[in-house]
Amino acid sequence: MALRTEELMLNMGPQHPSTHGVLRLVVTLDGENIVDVVPDIGYLHSSVEKMMEYRTYLQNVALADRGMDYLTALANEEGYLLAVERVGRIEVPPRARYLRTIMLELQRLSSHLVWLGTWGIDLGATTVFLYCFRERERILDLFEQATGGRLHHVYFRPGGVYEDLPDGWTDRVLAFCDEFLGRVDEYHELLTGNPIFLARVQGVGVLPRDRAIAMGACGPVARASGVDFDVRKAFPYEAYGELAFDVPVFQEGDCFARYRVRMEEMRQSVRIIQQAIAKLPDGEIRSKVQVNVKLPRGEAYARTESPRGDLGVYLVSEGEDAPYRVKIRAPSFSNLFALTEMMRGWKVADVIAILGSVDIVLSDVDR
């Protein structure tokens, strides 16, 4: 008589320490092997797109901070305001463009540090978390001095930024940058010197290049699978066209490649910040201070490279002081569905390593 086996449904989440938010994964297992993964989303749906239609353009800046990806508040503001500025044909003065670039790259550093720390916890390396948050607190201090907020800044405005930098801020950023490059090497040694870490991530969760494109993967996930695409290079916005930086691309497509892409991106972000501070022009920080922004009739699509990937905002204006429709193309959403491709065929213990390497934020997925 043949031994009868059957598949096991394993419910992971929504309250789980390693799901990076409130993601529910319904994993179908054959023994220890993953047959299928179905993500169940919507546990953090906050209907931001609908709410934006009932708030003015200025109020929506604060909403974009919270309702979208909460780790990258400034990148959300940037995506939204780029669309607003394109519809309204609002000019941004050069100093404001450089200030925004510096802030966006600092935000990328702080976001990648949260990813590295939490991924370290998932893989059993708790020390990395403490190291990463030590540096992250320093970035948040810099943010607090310039924007007033730790997590949600509401710093960008249509046509510029809210306030100029405090005295000595750029010196403090440069001092931090010099120290931070050494810290990145420290994290790298801490993790890649650990054979357990390497065994859990090297060659695990491979996403081939053609599947990455087919599933619409973007950002570091796509670049780790050999897709050489970065919105900052392809469609430069703010000051990125005037600054030199490299886009790291790896061909392997495994968790280790995604890790290396982000580590290299942190080094490149430091490079961008240093150049932007050296080139920082004087002058106006906001083209026109408006209490009530009214845009002409029109529509625009803005693409930005948020730390998680290709963040797009499509905005339709009917000539009112509030948008008629806002559609957000969230990078985490498409990366989440590339995740199902990565997980098939691996062991159940690899679920956490693969999930952490994709770096999804559920607020971004559900919006």
Binding site: P14, Y43, K50, M51, L151
Partner: protein, 183 residues
């Protein structure tokens, strides 16, 4: 000016020295009389193990509260990932109507005595933005009883620490052995 002699280095930390002095003055040397309830409450308050219910942005500040700078571990607050080992629940972030039954179920799975800290404006009252929204619950106190509200969007880690200290005060003042169990 003549150089002053440096102050003597204390051999014991001051509160410990005081405690040792009190113990030495007692007959027998090491017996302290106290109320059972006081001792129970004192030990319960000093080792609060919260279930970390991180939902949104506030969860990042909650993580920061456990990291190096703020270090909640020094107050005996150690994060737990399962409700069975938890004394209190920190609901951090906005709770959707889809998530509300899960918050309730995890609260029910916690053993008595249990407490709930609502962290952030969204968990407290629906937040500064989601008042006219169809998907967010307007405050988790609609599904679970809340002991301490921590306001802010998001609250700083210091605010969460203050909230935990308030909960410790509440626990210490509780008639633990004679309290009524909530339904």
């Amino acid at each position: 000016m003549s150089a002053q002699a440096p102050p003597p280095i204390p051999t014991r930390i001051a509160p410990i020295q005081t405690a040792v002095d009190i113990l030495d003055s007692l007959p027998g040397g090491s017996v302290v009389l106290s109320k059972v309830e006081y001792l129970l409450n004192w030990s319960r308050a000093a080792s609060l193990w919260p279930l970390t219910f991180g939902l949104a942005c506030c969860a990042i500040e909650m993580m920061a509260a456990w990291a190096g700078r703020f270090d909640l571990d020094r107050m005996g607050v150690i994060p737990r990932a399962t409700p069975r080992q938890a004394d209190c629940m920190i609901v951090a972030g906005r709770c959707t109507i889809k998530m509300a039954p899960i918050v309730r179920r995890l609260w029910e799975q916690m053993p008595e005595p249990k407490y709930v800290i609502s962290m952030g404006s969204c968990a407290t009252c629906g937040g500064p933005f989601y008042y006219d929204n169809y998907s967010i619950l307007k405050g988790i106190d609609q599904v679970v009883p809340v002991d301490v509200y921590v306001p802010g969007c998001p609250p700083r880690p210091e605010a969460l620490i203050e909230g935990l200290l308030k909960l410790q005060e509440k626990i210490k003042a509780e008639p633990f052995l004679r309290r009524a169990v909530p339904a």
